[in-house]
């Protein structure tokens, strides 16, 4: 294990990114989530359920029981009280984040087939899920009630994300079709424009309606040799100001079944769906983008994993090619930023959770 060190006052320098901690788990990891209160990192693995990793003590607590499958969707409420796990068994589970021995608060059979992603609204009142039943669902965090089921996707829904101010929920499917939904679940209709108001706009009278963005075509392909579809938003995140949506996946696929394709992140203008820029590696690397996040200093960090190995990439100023990249020890499968955005956690295929600091190492 590599010892961590305090970096509260460190200057962010992506070019100095280095490993500050690595911790092995029993099985290959598939996902990670950094809890907002900076106490834990939750991980999913090739196992049933999730694990809670305490950042100070390094204690691992297995959170198992309700799930009968892998879990790759994890998130917590902003106050850190409740953590959610969404499994490939279609189950959505509410957990007490910091209970000594976490027992499920609530278990809901949320989707038919896989839950591929979940997201918690910025106010912590809603949790959204999506999956292979083509549905996007919004749940009440407090009561567990299903508030709204959004249908309309014709392909497996790969990702969901709330906008930073919480007014919109965005979903993206296998073929890169993006839908924008009202985050409160109250859908008026499916026509444009984005916002319809027939009265003065107040919190009570603003009437939000859903809309579709153009397909991000570069992130989807039907492989005619293997007769299979490949694509989808393997990672997705809004920009800090909510004006752009980063959708990551794989592009230029020439052999879907061997993983021959380059990882890519399309930066989509939320207002009109135009792809402003497509981030990718300067030197083409086979793989899939499994994580994307914008730093509060403006640059974007992306995680790649695949036959080209594991990589962290850094892009800025709408420039397609990276200004820095870091080769990782193993394929990355999930990425999460620390609440203070000084560190990044990566769930690796070699069973390790690694934490990377975005600054220079101590002398």
């Amino acid at each position: 294990m590599i010892a961590s060190h305090s970096a509260q006052s460190a200057t962010i320098e992506p070019e100095k990114t280095h490993v500050v901690l690595e911790h092995a788990f029993p099985r290959p990891l598939t996902a990670c989530f950094w809890e907002p209160k900076n106490r834990y990192i939750f991980v999913g693995s090739e196992d049933l359920g999730i694990s809670r990793f305490h950042l100070e003590s390094k204690e691992i607590v297995a959170m198992v029981g309700p799930h009968e499958s892998w879990v790759r969707a994890i998130a917590s409420t902003p106050d850190g009280q409740v953590t959610f796990s969404g499994g490939y068994d279609g189950r959505l589970v509410w957990w007490p984040t910091d209970a000594e021995k976490p027992e499920p608060i609530r278990v809901v059979d949320a989707h038919q087939g896989w839950i591929r992603a979940l997201a918690v609204s910025p106010d912590g009142r809603r949790v959204a899920t999506c999956g292979n039943d083509l549905a996007v669902k919004i749940w009440d965090v407090e009561s567990g009630e299903l508030i709204q089921t959004h249908s309309g996707h014709q392909w497996h829904v790969y990702n969901v994300s709330f906008s930073p101010l919480g007014e919109w929920l965005v979903s993206c499917d296998l073929r890169g079709f993006i839908k924008v939904w009202p985050a409160d679940g109250k859908v008026a209709d499916h026509a444009s424009p984005q916002v319809a108001t027939d009265q003065p706009a107040t919190a009570d009278t603003v009437k939000l309606i859903s809309r579709d963005l153009p397909q991000v075509e570069s992130l989807y392909k039907y492989d005619t040799t293997f007769r299979a579809h490949i694509g989808g938003a393997r990672c997705m995140a809004f920009s800090k100001d909510g004006s752009r949506l980063a959708v990551g996946g794989v592009t230029n696929v020439t052999n879907a079944f061997a993983g021959i394709g380059n990882f890519a992140v399309a930066l989509v203008n939320v207002a009109d769906g135009i792809v402003v820029v497509q981030f990718g590696p300067k030197e083409k690397v086979n793989g899939t983008a499994w994580g994307i996040a914008q730093h509060n200093q403006g640059f974007w960090t992306g995680l790649g994993g695949g036959s080209g190995g594991g990589w962290l990439y850094f892009w800025r100023d709408d420039i397609a090619e990276e200004f820095f990249k870091l080769k990782l020890k193993s394929d990355g499968r999930g990425m999460a930023s620390s609440p203070d955005e000084i560190r990044i956690a990566v769930a690796h295929a070699d069973r390790n959770l690694r934490i990377y600091a975005l600054h220079s190492a101590p002398a």
Partner: protein, 427 residues
Amino acid sequence: MKCQYACGSTEHVTNRRRFVSGIASSAAGLGLGGLLTGNPAIAEQLKGKQKRILNVFLHGGVSQLESWDPKPGTDTGGPFRAIPTSVPGVHISELLPYTAKQMHHLAIVRSLDTKNNDHARGEVEMTTGHKQIPGTDYPHLGAIAAKMLTPQRFPLPGHILIRGAGSGSGKAAYLGPKYASVVMNDGKPPQFTERPASLSVESDLRRNQLRARFNDRFAGRRRTADTDAYTFSYDQAQDLLSQRQVFELERESEVDRERYGKSEFGQHCLMARRLLEHGVPFVQVNHSNYDTHHENFDFHIEQLGEFDKPFAMLVEDLNQRGLLEDTLICVMSEFGRTPQINARYGRDHWGKSWSVVLGGCGIQRGAVIGSTSDNGTEVVDRVVDHGHIVHTILQAVGIDSTGEFNIAGRKYPVADPAKGSIGELLA
């Protein structure tokens, strides 16, 4: 090549009969169009008489862990659950919910160790039952079935391969080219089975009568194996022309076409049912592709999602129509996939411990033969391989797999003499 008639093999006796009868049927021409139809009476006639084989080949190597031998919760198990089937105590992957309801008609062999991780070799060995040896060709199961199960004066090919676009076919090797597969590319009727619009029925008939007379005269003086094969090809083409409607899926009801689904594989399964109902001795349906080195789980959702319902529908229909008693079903691949999951969520080639499904034609319903270790990395009970599978298939349809073919005086074993059938599967 001069024909050695003195050998007196069945091969040539049959060939001579076909040669003569072929002319007769050619003379009858298109008038024989109704000889075989899809009506239940014909199915009733077939029932209990002629054996048939349906081979579903899942190209690329289907994962046994995502299909017939799930290991949920283990380090190799992957994300899918196991579900109960219509056979108490037998579970298969949740990716096969429709097939699970038909498992009381089928049997699983969970203990294949074929010691091979190569696609081409795996396809050859699984479909011939012989270990591949450079420079030696063995006949495909379909060729053996066509030779041994095709009734006399049968107007359709005995060995039909239905596949999506792509290459490859079932070789007949020393059995002769007439037993090689007739291919339905993209499920379309075999090539050149439609009379050109510019050729009238009468002109076609006169043309063939003239050709038959010339052939007869020539055969009377200088008959060779080559000319026989040539004549056979013409006769078969004539027969195919007269039976064109057998290959026309649109003759199936819209209800059935909906039931089987609009996917390519669904329509191919319906075509397989149609061909089997018309008595074709061997039909292979290929489904592509399962070679999932990358994102095995996503792709198995997609591919088995296509496979499951139509296949289950086909099993159910064959049973309901009384054809399952005489139709051997097999679901095979080149090999299975690694229990170990790679860094890209893929599974690689694995011949060491994987599964094949058999059913019908006296195969023990609901049986499970052999087993693998807790995480599927090795066979722990009743190791078998391609040789045993092919012996079992052939014996189930009444072919003595321990016998020999006599081809021009040279003897070839029907199946690998070093192997035998899985006796406990045969009723």
